[in-house]
Amino acid sequence: MRAHELLRATPAGLYCPPGDFHIDPTRAVARAVITHGHSDHARSGHGAVLATPATLEMMALRHGAVRGGQALVYNHPVVVNGVTLWLAPAGHVLGSAQVVLQMAGCRAVVSGDYKRTADPTCPPFEPVACDVFVSEATFALPVFRHPPPESEIARLLHSAALFPERCHAIGAYVLGKTQRLIRLLRQAGYERPIYLQKQALAICALYRRHGQDLGTLLPAAGAQPGDLAGAMVLTSGGDLALPVDTVRGFASGWMGIQEHARRRDCELPLALSDHADWPELVMTLRQVAAGETWVTHGRADALLRQAKLDGLRVRALADIAGEGGH
């Protein structure tokens, strides 16, 4: 079997014709395999959903009960309409998975979002040899080299120690980044309560059910501005009354570039990402050594150039989808 018979780019997202299911579809479909719980991958309204237990729970938390939900643990193959399918850890957030499809000697891996840096909240990415590898490209430029997470946490804690009377409010994505920041802070010895918004607290409760020790977490909404003086607050947007002299930070892979930190008027930019940086992308493509890599979610030009230098075959998924239309 050839790769494009096993996996095809369609307007609704990646589709497996023999298995008759979509992967991370962009609209409601009959049957979906979901790589992880972020809303641009896990949409609501599908007829049936296959995902890891944690991802299904996240979807239920966000959209209510998931219709036709089928939980599948890592590296446990099932057969769907003759296609052997299993989920491999992607190292992105709790429950994140690569979808491995195999049929008639052809294997495709849809990695979803992934990173290679160790993350205390999820098992590490496992490279799976394959014929087609679908990779994200969020940070696919050589300028993106995320510093070690420990150094970013050390900067945050240094500021908290140097300005002990001031609230530190760090903007962080509510699912994944927030919980990883908490675990990294705890690992670095920060034991004081951490203040969160309501939605983040609900997701933290889910992480706790999956064995993550997050320490004492308190609702930021109920706190008086006086309580927040000298406290650590993780925010994910929305209204939150913070003390006037709050040190404002932001945790994102984009913060590695000063210009982006400037535009956010951010006093404490933390280059902390749940996506692979440039060296990780290049290393992964070399490791997986797929017959062909399809690039999605981000910019493809630099990876295409690097693949040419490495003697690998890489195509932009957008171009492949375009060919399908003819």
């Binding site: 050589p142 993106f144 006037v244 951010c266 006093e267 630099a302 150039r305």
Partner: protein, 486 residues
Amino acid sequence: MLWESLACRTNPDDRLRLLLDYLRRVPDPDRGFAMAALAARLPIARLSAARLKALAAERVDAQLLAASLGFVGDGPETAALVWPQDLTANRPASLAEVVDSLAQAGKAAMPGVLAGWLDRLATPERRVLLRLASGARLFADTRAIRRALALLGGVDQVELDVAWHDDRPPYAALFAWLAGRAARPAPRPGGYRPLMQPPLLDEAALPGRDPADYLACWQGQGQRALLAAEAGIARLYSADGEDLSAEFRGALTGRVGDAALDGEVVSLPRGGTVLRVLDALRLDDQDVCALPFVERRTRLAAWLAKRPGGWGTLAPTLAFADWADLRRLLAAPAEGAQGIVLIRRDGRYRPGEVQDDACLVWRRPAPRLGAVVLYAHRLGTALAELTIGAYGEGALLPVGRVALADAGAERQRLVAWIRDHAIGWFGPTCQVAPTLVVEIAYETVSRSARHKAGLTLTGARLVGVRWQAPVATAVQLAELARVLPR
């Protein structure tokens, strides 16, 4: 790392605390070199943008470099980010090692030496090194550095300022003095001396003062400067210690006689400049700071009279019998004057910030108006300035810039407003929807060929935000044109 932390903070107290923390943690001579790097006083040759690009292209594929530069926009920042670090190579032992080798490398060898270090450094260090090599200024607030150093040693700010200006990186003598290991370095003859910085006059306290105790002169008509001449060599320093000699080389050549004079460099109507001398710290080889002002002025007048046709002229005093006279003068000040400086006849010359009534500045009341916010500008890393505009002939035209720091408690709300109303970014400039009126205090309206409006507000500063005011209430260009000097 220190620079990156500093660059993101706008609060002066925060910067001071970060600097002090660094100075206490980092040993010599690295902390000295770090301060020199911040203050742009490191002796490193400059690398052109083209040389820098060529250097980066030796390490990174040209196409990947071009894509990166297109995304980031800034040459040194891009090079710092894409430069592949050789993790197997030894890291430099110290900042001193890096600076020494770069300073000693000739112009031709410098790029190679630089590249060798870049291989062995992490991104934040590469960023600083490349910015320095490209000639970019790291940190504008050199005063914060000097304040932190004075606090570190618990020494007098004036003495510190002199020692800082006299010493060279890595400031071994300075740090030895601050640590109590050595005596205060002797001030270099003809070097920089801090000028007297008088406080602003509190008008409410005027009735308790006797006008007869003071002499008065116009203030703020030009740039405040110190002329320090020793052994036939004259140098001109700004009040902050910046060496302006190169700018005024023509005026300074041929100067004879040793002195340290406090004055203002004033532009003459028919071109050229003159140093309007207000006071003297030293005349010939005598320190006159301890003499009463009237005595200093008499000697200064005699000293200047012996040098007719020289660059320096004595600043004239204003005739007044009582405070009401001065208030009347302030209502219609001399060309360009910001106010009046009052000096006690019996007052000594005291360098640095003066806290009593020996010397006072009476600022003329600043007129106010409402103007529309047009653009916000980044300076360093944070949003720092606003371009404000007025209506003329149906269009909004820029009439000046104001510092965002003056917004005080309103700053954060204003920054949020700018983010929410941004129309587009052009490099460091953000265009906003012209719907917000801010209150501006200014010194004067002056003609300007650089402004489309033909005029600009000098000394404009932000005093408030009129959140609810409709844009139609902002000032009209025609109103500003009426107060232009003829």
